[in-house]
Structure formats: C-alpha cells, structure tokens
C-alpha cells in the first residue's frame, strides 16, 4: 500500500470548560477508506472539524500534514482548496435551488459575474453521472430524497477536485437501499484514487467499506486496526470503543425490587412511528417496553437508533407520524395524543436538547420552573407570584442551582445548572413516570453526580424512570434494566446483573439482523 496522505499528530482541542480532544493521532494512507469509530461524544466530529478548518489553525494544538506538507487552514475554503472536503451529518444544500446550482454554489462557472448555464449544466450532469444519479441537473433539491441528496453532496465535493473526502455518519439518515448505494459509491471512488474518511457507528458498514479503523475514546485515539485482518472482529472493535473502567462516579444504589405483581407504571406496546418527511422510513419499529414504579430502566442506542423518537412520539406525538401501538399506564390504556394529555396522565419528558426544547432561555429560572404546572400555584387562572417564588426558591436550594436569585435568566446559567432547572420543572409537575433523555449531556462531572443523585431519589420515591443515554457506563451505573435499540428496533433487554458494556454495544450495533 502507498504511504500516508494525511497525518494528524497529537491534536488537542479545548472548548471553554471542556477538553474535547486530549491527544489524537491519525494516519490515513493514500487511496484507502479509513473509518473512525467511537461512542457519541468521543470527539470524532470535533477531530474532523479541526481537519477541515471549521476550527481554524491556532485554536487547537498539534500538527496536520497533508500530502507531506504542514497545513494551517484558517477556514473551510482553505482546506477545500487543498482537496479536503467534509460532508456533514446535516446536509448543507439549499432546498429550492437546482442540483446544478447547488453543486457549484460558491464555485460557479461564470464569465464576468454572469453564470455560464451551458457549462454549468454540462459539468453538473457529468458529475451526477459519476455518483450514479440520473436526475436532471435542473431538478430542485427539495424534490429528491435524502439518499440522493447525500449523493449530490458527493458530486459537489467532486466538483472541487476532492482528494480526501470526509463523511460524517453518512448513512445515519438513510434507509438500507440508499445506504448500500452510498457505500458502493465510496468503493467506486476509491478505485478512482480518492481517499475517504468515514465516521460511522455501524460495524457492518465499516467491515464492508473500510480498510482500516481508528478508535477514538474520550478525546484520545486508542488504536488503529487493519479491518482486513482476521483478528479485527466486531468484538475487538467494541472492546476498543468501550474499554474504560467504572470508578465512583455514581451514587451507591440498591436496586429496588420492583413489585412484579402490580401492573407496570408505563407500558408501551408495539409502537411504530414513521419519519415525518420521508414517509417510507420507519424510525421506531414495533417497539414494546415497560417500566415499573421504583425502577430505573435504561434505553441504550447509538445515534439514529430511535430512542428520542420513541420518547417524543409517546409524549404527545411530538415527533413523526404515528402508525401504531398503545400506551398503558398502570395497566389501563391511555391517550397521549397531546402533551397536555400526557402530562395529565403523569408522564414527563425531559428533552435531550434543553436549549431548543426544554427552556425559555430569555425568561427567569422562576418562570421556567413553574411553566408546566402553573395551575399548582394559581387560583382561577391567576398565579400567586409569592407562592411561585417560594416553590422555585425551594428547587434552587434542594437542586443546588447555582444562581444568585431565581430571577436570573436561564440563558446565563451553565449547562449543568440549566439541566437542573429543566429537571426541577418536570419534578414540580409531579409525574409518576419520568422519561429522561440524555440528562447529563454536555455537563461537567460534578453536576453529573448531582443529577444522578436526584434520579436515584426519584426512583426511591416510587417514580418510574426511563433513562435514555448514549453513555454506557452511566446506564450501567444507574439502571435496573437496560433495553437496547438499533435502527428503530428493540434489539435486546439486559438485566443489571448481566449488563456489561460489551454486551450492550454488541446489541446496539446489530444493524440488520432481526433478533427478537
């Protein structure tokens, strides 16, 4: 095989308060497909942003060599100029422009400021053919599916004379057929001499296209394996991804003996949801789970597994298009078609995205906490401001929200404190069942411990807790039982005693085999 085309040496990248990358070294050989693998939040996307100049030279430490030359990209344009093109998870196409216009956006075939349409269309159809699309170059992007849009992104990359193509979870949003097409295209481009880096969770995909795989964990590069070698089994990769020991990061928790006789507090049966736009795609596929009072039940899964989609579609149908399934509370079927109904039935959903879905950032701690259950501090539609303030002062103290007063705007708090406000808000609503979606995402270790303690207390009070998380140690440390999901399907249910990171990761990366 040829020598290295890209070397990233000892990359360190720090964000205010968080070290995203602490020491990453990556070597990619000329003409290979190189996979990067790791848990959510391990630092994969940050690494690629460093490489492509999204994080400019000077904002990180370490050295990047491309084609044997030291690179110091100050923005994306600079890296694209050298032939490094990144295709992000969220596609960056303008929906109401044509395929041709999108392909040459910012890079137009023009004479004296006017577009040369003939050359644009000719070149565009040539590029589209290269990626296996036969759509007319004047078709609007909005009129083609996500799978094809991904291919248009690649055509756009080709128009920039790409030497190194970076794909960040390219198949996360695609169905099986489109995924296959895309992977085949990557192999095809490899034959044409284009080197690719592909970030992916799906081990079967990695086996199909990649030559080597680098594993990143907690901001460090752990190892690089040769995928073609017989020793590199899926288990080998998994143990690389999770191999870290559990220390005392969780409160001591005596698992509550769930009363098996009583009906589960929440039971979801045969729940199926389709994607809101791509109607063919099942985002949640025939999922059945249950949780009892006093129990903490985890849902593990990688990006795109359908965990949030499951939770949100149950909670007032706030995601996707519902196509089947029932929800039972204490053994009785209930309606949860609107958020208000779900809340009335004692269900709370604490979102994974507190800034967009959890909080009104411009309003105070006080008013954020009271919003869902305003009627508890109101008589005949009139809020008693003093009672309200007393309630939120109470949460500020018991939850240890670090702010001088409850009249501080929530937007000014740190992530951990914001999360405590969201939790307070939902605890104040007085639910029987709490669905917590990534409750510790993006917050520091100390605040995490505090939040674990709160969750533990909630279970001890007899609430049923559903704990969705991408961090396996956290699930292992907190849960009585853990469900695993992959690609919208339930792939397993593991009791606390049998759960290890390896067992869970194996079930989370099961992609296509149906195993139930």
């Amino acid at each position: 095989m040829a020598g290295p085309v890209l070397e990233m040496r000892s990359i360190v990248k720090t964000f205010p308060g968080v070290k995203a990358l602490s020491d990453v070294t990556l070597t990619v050989r000329q003409g290979e497909v190189h996979a990067i693998c790791g848990e959510n939040g391990a630092g994969k996307s940050t690494l690629m942003k460093v490489l492509s100049g999204v994080h400019p030279h000077g904002s990180y430490e370490g050295e990047i060599l491309f084609d044997g030359e030291v690179c110091s990209f100050k923005d994306i344009r600079a890296s694209e100029h050298r032939g490094i093109v990144i295709i992000h998870q969220e596609l960056a196409l303008s929906p109401y422009l044509s395929l041709a216009e999108n392909i040459f956006l910012g890079n137009e075939h023009a004479k004296g400021g006017f577009i040369d349409w003939r050359e644009t269309l000719r070149h565009a159809s040539e590029l589209l053919r290269r990626v296996g699309l036969d759509d007319h170059p004047e078709t609007r992007v909005a009129d083609i599916g996500v799978g094809k849009q991904q291919l248009v992104e690649i055509a756009k990359a080709l128009s920039k004379k790409v030497k190194l193509l970076i794909l960040d979870e390219p198949t996360a949003a695609l169905n099986d057929e489109d995924s296959d097409k895309l992977l085949n295209l990557i192999l095809e481009l490899k034959k044409q001499g284009i080197t690719s880096i592909i970030i992916s969770h799906k081990l079967n995909e990695i086996r199909k296209v990649a030559d080597s795989v680098t594993i990143i964990r907690d901001g460090r590069s752990i190892e690089t394996l040769d995928v073609r070698s017989a020793e590199t089994t899926e288990d080998r990769i998994i143990s690389g991804m999770v191999g870290r020991d559990l220390d005392h990061r969780f409160p001591e928790r005596t698992p509550h003996e769930a009363e098996v006789d009583a009906a589960p507090a929440l039971e979801i049966r045969n729940w199926t949801v389709h994607h809101p736009i791509d109607q063919q795609r099942k985002v949640v596929d025939d999922v059945s789970i249950q949780v009892r009072r006093g129990e903490i039940v985890g849902i593990a899964g990688l990006m795109g597994a359908g965990r949030t989609e499951l939770a949100m579609s149950v909670f007032g149908r706030t995601y996707g298009r519902y196509t089947g399934g029932t929800v039972l509370k204490d053994g009785k079927e209930i309606r949860t078609k609107t958020v208000a109904e779900a809340v009335d039935h004692g269900i709370a959903y604490v979102t994974e995205d507190r800034k967009h879905y959890g909080l009104n950032l411009i309003d105070t701690i006080n008013r954020n906490i009271s919003l869902t259950a305003l009627n508890k501090v109101a008589k005949r539609g009139i809020v008693d401001e003093h009672e309200e303030r007393q309630v939120s002062e109470g949460y500020r103290k018991t939850m240890n929200i670090k702010a001088p007063t409850v009249f501080e705007p929530v937007g000014k708090l740190s992530g951990g404190n914001q999360q405590k406000v969201v939790l307070s808000k939902w605890i104040f609503a007085g639910p029987d069942v709490l669905i917590l979606d990534e409750p510790t995402r993006g917050i520091d270790v100390g605040a995490k411990y505090e939040i674990y303690t709160v969750i533990d207390q909630l279970a001890a009070q007899g609430k049923a807790v559903v704990f969705i998380s991408s961090e396996l140690p956290e699930l292992l440390g907190m849960c009585d039982r853990i469900y695993t999901m992959a690609a919208g399907r339930l792939t397993g249910e593991v009791p606390r005693a049998e759960a290890t990171q390896e067992v869970l990761m194996r079930q989370m990366t099961k992609d296509k085999e149906v195993t139930r």
Binding site: Y357, I362, V383
Partner: protein
C-alpha cells in the same frame, strides 16, 4: 444540599459581596435592578429627559395643565392599540391591520348611530363584537391554519380599509350622539363645592394613591410571610416616595384644568388589567412562553394555538375600542381615520422594550414607548416643527431606542 450561608444576601447583590455596609448594598441593589431592566428604565429615563427638554424649549408650555390634558386625549387611542400590539409582539407575531380595523369600526359605529340612530350603548357593544369577530378570524388563520401573521394582517389592512370606504361611500359621517362623544373628549363631571381644583379628580387621585401604597405594603408582607427575601427597608421607602410623587403630580396637573379625561380612566383600567394579566395570569405567562421558545412551550403542554388565537381576538377588541375613541374624538367617521396607527403602535411596542423575536416586553413598556412618541409629537407641534421633520425625528427615535438595546445586550453578552 447547599451549604450556602449567604442565602440572606439581598436579591441583586452579587454573591461574595454581602459584607458591605447597608448603604453600599442599597446602591448595588438599585444598580443591579437598573442593569437587569435596562431597556425599561432606560426608556423611562429617556421619557423623563424628553419631557424636561421640551419643557425648557417650549418655555414651560408642555406641562401646562391644559396641554397635559391634551396630550392624554391625543394619544389615548395609540396607547390602547399599543397594549394589544405588545401582546401580539410578545407572542412572536405582528398585526398590521389595526389601523384599518380602527377606521372600519369607526365607520360601522357611524352607520349604526348616525344613519340608523341606534342607542349608543348598544351600538358600542356591537362595535366591540365586530372587533372581536375580525380579530378572531385573523387569529384563526394565523393559529390554526398556520398562515404567517404578517400576511394575514397585511391582507386585513387592505381589506378593512376597503370595507371602510365601501361603508362610508367615501364620505365623512357624523356627528355622533353626546354619550359617545364624551368617550373621546369628555371629562369627569364636576361635583362638590367650588375649589380651584377639579374635586372628583382629586378624590380619585387620592384613592389611587392609597390603593397603590396599601398594595405595596401588602405585597411586602406576603413576601415576608412566604419567608422570601425582601428589598431593604430604605429602598422600599424610596420606591413608595417615587410612586406617590408621580401620582400626585399627574393628579394635580389634571385637577387644575378640567379634571381627568374619561378616556384616561379607560386607559388606566386597561393598563392595570392587562399588566396584571400579563404578569399574574396563566394566560399571560403562556403568551411569554410561546413567544420565548415555541417548541419548548409546546413540550411543556402549553396550548399554543389557543393562546395565539386569543391574542389576536383581543387585539381586535382593543382596535374596535380605539376606533370608537377616535370616532368620538373627531365626532365623525372618516375613510382616512386610523392611517398609520398600526405603525405607531408597533413603534411604541419596540421603543418600550419588545423584541422582534418575541417573548419579551411589558404592558407598561408599551405605554412608555407610546408616551415617548406622544410627547415628541406634542412637543414638536408646540415648537411648530413641520410634520415632515416630525416623521424624521420619530424614525430616528425608534432606531436609537432599539439600537441602544442591541448595543447594550451585546455588551453584556460578551
């Protein structure tokens, strides 16, 4: 859980600086409060400055009792609209139709009262109903069909203007019955012995004074009952003195002319009522919630569509009320009534602290914003500045107010 011993630190004092003398704390408290409500206090101070400047430039004419009375009468309808507009903007929408709707309701009132000689109280009621219907149709289109409010109300603006001309056949219709006229021009009746002042106004002013002071004291007591931190005693007294002084000044000014205009009474009730609803009612809180972060409000169980619908319905009713006041004041319904009122109301809201993206603003802010524009108008009239330059200056005032706010936010943000 917390080991804080600084729990008794007064509200606005930054943590760790609690050991200072009580004077130092007071200053910090005042400054902290000022910083947090920069926009509103800023505008209040600006309003004060404008008043003082024009008082000097006009040689004392601005604050003559007669002129103050005039100021209230001239601006009442814009202020009524500004209250409703503030709610619409807080909810994250806009209403361009209110000027035309004002004219339309005026015309409708004229048709009922002048052409058909209907009893004025009944006609008044019907007019408010028409406003409610107009508002609820627009609200339905915005909230339930999801048509952007800009489009819906732009259409409404054209539509109601056209309907006004159709109703009036392009002509001016009047005069109105005495009862309605009083709503636009009337003053409270004279009662009691002859003094140099208007007795009823004085009485009302005193009653208001007592009410406000009692309310503040009760509020403070309740806070202590709930064992919440209260503002220090001197600050509380300072606030009371300021409020008493303001109420007394306005009362005396009005009482030494013809007394309080009836429309001021209406306006006062609206400000207190809407201020209370926006601060203390579940409905008001929900308006802030959907304007501040719609997805989060939805996920908190707020019925966003219903709230939006009622905000527009309410705007319709207030526009109808403003239409009646305008018609009463001019004593005629004209096809050109209410021209650009929507823009004045929107400008008032933004000067008074509303944000383009919704979620912020207060009813009092809208009134302050409206008064800034009103005093500018009135002051420049007294100085015989032409309407051409008046427009220029009002435009600059709007830019300045919002620009200052953006600058201030950026400074504190970074």
């Amino acid at each position: 859980m917390s080991t804080e011993v600084t729990d008794k630190v007064p509200a606005a004092a930054p943590p760790g600086k609690s050991g200072g003398s009580s004077d130092g704390n007071l200053l910090q408290l005042v400054l902290g409060g000022l910083r947090r409500n920069m926009r509103q206090y800023g505008m209040l101070i600006a309003l004060g400055l404008i008043v003082v400047l024009f008082q000097i430039w006009t040689g004392g004419d601005l604050l003559l009792p007669r002129n103050v009375s005039n100021l209230v009468l001239q601006n009442s309808y814009i202020l009524i609209l500004a209250i409703g507009m503030m709610l619409v903007i807080i909810a994250g929408h806009i209403d361009l139709s209110v000027g035309s709707l004002t004219a339309f309701v005026g015309a409708f009132a004229a048709v009922l009262m002048v052409q058909h000689s209907m009893a004025w109280p009944l006609a008044l009621l019907l007019c408010l109903v028409v406003g409610a219907v107009a508002g609820s149709v627009q609200g339905f289109l915005v909230a339930y069909l999801g048509i952007p409010s800009f489009i819906v109300t732009l259409a409404g603006m054209l539509l109601f203007r056209g309907l006004t001309e159709i109703l009036l056949k392009g002509q001016t219709l009047g005069p109105f019955p005495d009862g309605l006229q009083k709503m636009g021009n009337g003053f409270l009746p004279e009662v009691g012995p002859k003094t140099n002042y208007h007795n009823l106004t004085l009485l009302l002013g005193l009653a208001l004074l007592v009410f406000v002071v009692l309310q503040e004291i009760r509020d403070r007591k309740r806070q202590q009952e709930f064992s919440l931190d209260v503002a220090p005693r001197n600050l509380f007294l300072l606030k009371l003195v300021a409020v008493v002084a303001a109420v007394l000044t306005v009362t005396m000014l009005l009482a030494s002319y013809k007394g309080a205009p009836i429309v001021l009474l209406i306006l006062g009730l609206l400000v207190v009522g809407y201020g209370y609803v926006m601060r203390n009612a579940v409905f008001g809180r929900h308006i802030y919630a959907i304007g501040g972060n719609l997805p989060a409000a939805k996920l908190s169980g707020v019925k966003d569509k219903k709230v939006t619908f009622y905000v527009f319905l309410n705007m319709g009713v207030l526009a109808a009320l403003a239409g009646l006041v305008v018609a009463a004041r001019l004593n005629a319904a004209s096809p050109k009534a209410g021209l650009n009122f929507e823009l004045e109301a929107i400008a008032s809201s933004f000067i008074g602290g509303a944000s383009m993206s919704g979620g912020v603003g207060t009813v009092l802010g809208a009134i302050i914003g409206g008064l800034v524009l009103g005093v500018l108008n009135n002051g420049m009239n007294l100085l015989s500045v032409g309407t051409d330059w008046q427009q220029v200056i009002k435009g600059l005032a709007l830019l300045l107010a919002v620009g200052f706010d953006v600058w201030n936010k950026r400074k504190s943000g970074s």
